[in-house]
Symmetry: C2
Subunit: 339 residues, 2 copies
C-alpha cells in the first residue's frame, strides 16, 4: 500500500495498533504529546540515541528493511548493555522517502521489535515524517539500572585486565563479503553465512552486561561498535590510561579464521571492523574471581597501563603502536568506510 | 573551522566542553555509551522525540542555525508542557552535510541551549554523523511529572469548555512573510517583526502547562503544533468526542489582525498555520474556577460535544464543518506546505 493513501496519521495508527503499549510500565505510549514511563523505585534512567542515514550507515541494496530494524535496535540495546543496564523503552524517528511502501515500514518495525521484544523493549513513541533524501532513522532507547551497577568508560586503572566477550571481526568481514560477493567464494558456505549473519543480525550482549554491572566486576566497559582499536581508545581516553593488548589473544571466530580471500588479515577486521556489539571491559585483579564466577564467555586480551597510548604485541613479542582506526564521520580516509 | 579538521570526536569534544553535565541530576552526561539520569522519587518520566529534515521542515535560506536550534528545542519543550511536565534532559542527533563549518554546529547548539537553559534543560547525549543529503536533526527530550499531574489528549468529555493560551496564527503568517517578503510590505515594521519572531523563536508554554497539570484543571491538553483544526482533531479522536468552536473567539494577535496583504484571512493561519506552540486544553465546568485562579492568559473558544466531528460557528451564527487541515507528511496538497 502507498504511504500517501494511508497518510501520516494512518501510518502512525498502524504502528500503534501493532505495537501499542499502555502497561503499568508505560501508562501512556504511542499517540500523545509524550510517552509517560514508570521507572522502578531507586533506579537511574539510562538514555542513548543513534542516528542511521541511508548512504552513510547503510545501503538498501545490500540490507533488507527488517534487518535494518534489527540493527537499529541492536546498536541502542548494546549501548544500554555496555552501561550494565536493562533496556525498557524505545522511541523511533523515521524520515521516509516517497518511494517507500507501507509494507517497507512495517518490515522495519517488525525487525526492530523482533529483537526488541527479546529484551523487554516497549515501543512508546516516535516521529514519522517524509524525507526528500534517503531513509533517516533515529532511535532513542531508555533503560534503567541501580546507580552502583552502572559501568562507565572512565574507571579503568593501570594493572586492570582487559576482556572482550565473544569474537570480534565477523561483522566487518561479513560486510565486505556482502559488498564483494567474490571474496566469499571458495569458502565454506556455512562460514560465509555466519559472518554475514553477524553483520545483519548482531546480538547485543544485554544479559552479560547486566551481570557484569550487578557483580561490580568491571572498572570500565564499552561496546565494540567502531572496532576494538577505537573503542579501547575511548576507554583509555576517558580513564586517562593506556593499554597493551596481545594480538594472539584477540578472539576470532573459527568462521573468520577459516575464510580465505578477504582483502585484509582477519585480525584487522577485529581491530577496525566495528559493529560486533561485543562488550569490552576492564577488570581489577581483585575482581578476577568475581568475573569468573559469572561464566561469561570473555577472553582476556591485555592489560591497562599508565597513560601513553595503546600498544599491540605480536606473536614474536614485538610491540607496536595501536592507533584508533575506526570510522570517523568527518575525516575522509580514516579507517574503514561507513557501513 | 572545517569539521573535517576537528573530526567526529573533536566535534563531540567541543560540544561536551561547552555543555558538559555531571550534576546530581545527570551523573553521567555526554561521552559514554548512555547518559545516566536521576528521576525525582515518585515521578513518572515523560519522553518525546522530533525529527526535523532540511527541505521538509526548514529551509536554511530563510532560517539561521541558531534559530533552528531554538525551534528544535521549542517543539520538544512544548510537547512536555502539553503533558503538564517539567523538561529535564535532551539528547540531540545531528546528520551534518559536508558543506557545514564547525561554527554552524556551534550556532545550532547555542540557539538550542539558549531556550533550553531557560527551562532547566540539560544536554546529556546525542549522536553526530555525516549526512550525504541535507541537515538532519533529531531531538529527544525527557521530562518528569507526578502521575496525577499528567494531562493526556484522551480525557475530554462533552460539555467541557475549550481553551487556548496566547494567540494563534502569528507563526504561520510570519513564515509566509519570510517566504514572500512583498506580503509584509506596506505594514507596520513592528507588527511584521513580531510575526516573524513568533515563527523563528516560538515560546513553549512550559510554566503554564505545568500549572494546569498541577491544578488538575484540564481534562485534555495538546500543544498547537499543526494548527488548531488538526490539534483539536487529535483531542477529539483520542477522547472520542466532537467539538464546536466560535470563530470570533479564536484569539488573534493585534499584529496579525493589523497585517494586510497576506494570502489568506487571519483566521486561517490560526486554524491551519501551526507552529504556534500554544496550549489547547479542555476544562470540565466544575474546574472553571480552578483554571481562573491560575491567571493564565487563555481564551475560551468553544465546547466539547458528543462524537460527530468538529464544527466552527461564524459571526452570523452559521455552523460549518471544521476539518483537520494541518500538514500531513505523506499526502500531497493536504493543508499548508511544510515549514
Amino acid at each position: 500500500m502507498k504511504i500517501s493513501d494511508l497518510g501520516e496519521f494512518g501510518l502512525i495508527g498502524r504502528i500503534r495498533r501493532t505495537y501499542a503499549t499502555g502497561t503499568a510500565r508505560a501508562p501512556i505510549g504511542i499517540g500523545d504529546d509524550a510517552a509517560a514511563l514508570a521507572v522502578s523505585p531507586g533506579m537511574t534512567v539510562l538514555a542513548t540515541t543513534d542516528m542511521l542515514l541511508e548512504g552513510v550507515h547503510f545501503d538498501l541494496a545490500t540490507t533488507e528493511l527488517a534487518s535494518l530494524g534489527w540493527k537499529a535496535a541492536a546498536a541502542n540495546l548494546s549501548d544500554i548493555a555496555a552501561m550494565g543496564g536493562m533496556p525498557r523503552f524505545a522511541l523511533v524517528g523515521l524520515g521516509i522517502p516517497r518511494r517507500f511502501a507501507a509494507e517497507d515500514i512495517a518490515a522495519f518495525y517488525r525487525g526492530f521489535m523482533q529483537l526488541g521484544r527479546e529484551h523487554g523493549l516497549q515501543l512508546v513513541g516516535g516521529d514519522t515524517c517524509s524525507s526528500q533524501g534517503g531513509l533517516v532513522i533515529s532511535v532513542t532507547v531508555l533503560g534503567e539500572a541501580a546507580r552502583k551497577a552502572i559501568v562507565t568508560r572512565a574507571g579503568a586503572r593501570p594493572g586492570d585486565r582487559i576482556f572482550v566477550t565473544g569474537t570480534l571481526g565477523d561483522s566487518g568481514a561479513g560486510l565486505e563479503i556482502l559488498r564483494n560477493a567474490e571474496w566469499g567464494m571458495g569458502n565454506e558456505k556455512s562460514a560465509v553465512k555466519k559472518l554475514i549473519e553477524r553483520h545483519q543480525k548482531p546480538v547485543p550482549r544485554v544479559a552479560w552486561g547486566r551481570k557484569i554491572g550487578l557483580a561490580g566486576a568491571a572498572s570500565a566497559m564499552i561496546d565494540v561498535s567502531d572496532g576494538l582499536s577505537s573503542d579501547l581508545g575511548h576507554i583509555c581516553e576517558e580513564s586517562g590510561v593506556g593499554a597493551e593488548i596481545i594480538a594472539d589473544r584477540v578472539p576470532l571466530s573459527k568462521e573468520l579464521r577459516r575464510t580465505t580471500g578477504l582483502r585484509r588479515p582477519a585480525l584487522e577486521y577485529a581491530l577496525e571492523g566495528g559493529e560486533d556489539y561485543e562488550l569490552l571491559f576492564t577488570v581489577p585483579p581483585r575482581k578476577a574471581a568475581a568475573l569468573r564466577a559469572l561464566r561469561i564467555p570473555a577472553a582476556e586480551i591485555g592489560t591497562v597501563t599508565k597513560a601513553g597510548g595503546m600498544r599491540i604485541i605480536d606473536r614474536a613479542g614485538k610491540a607496536k603502536r595501536l592507533a584508533p582506526a575506526g570510522y570517523d564521520h568527518f575525516r575522509a580516509g580514516a579507517g574503514r568506510g561507513p557501513s
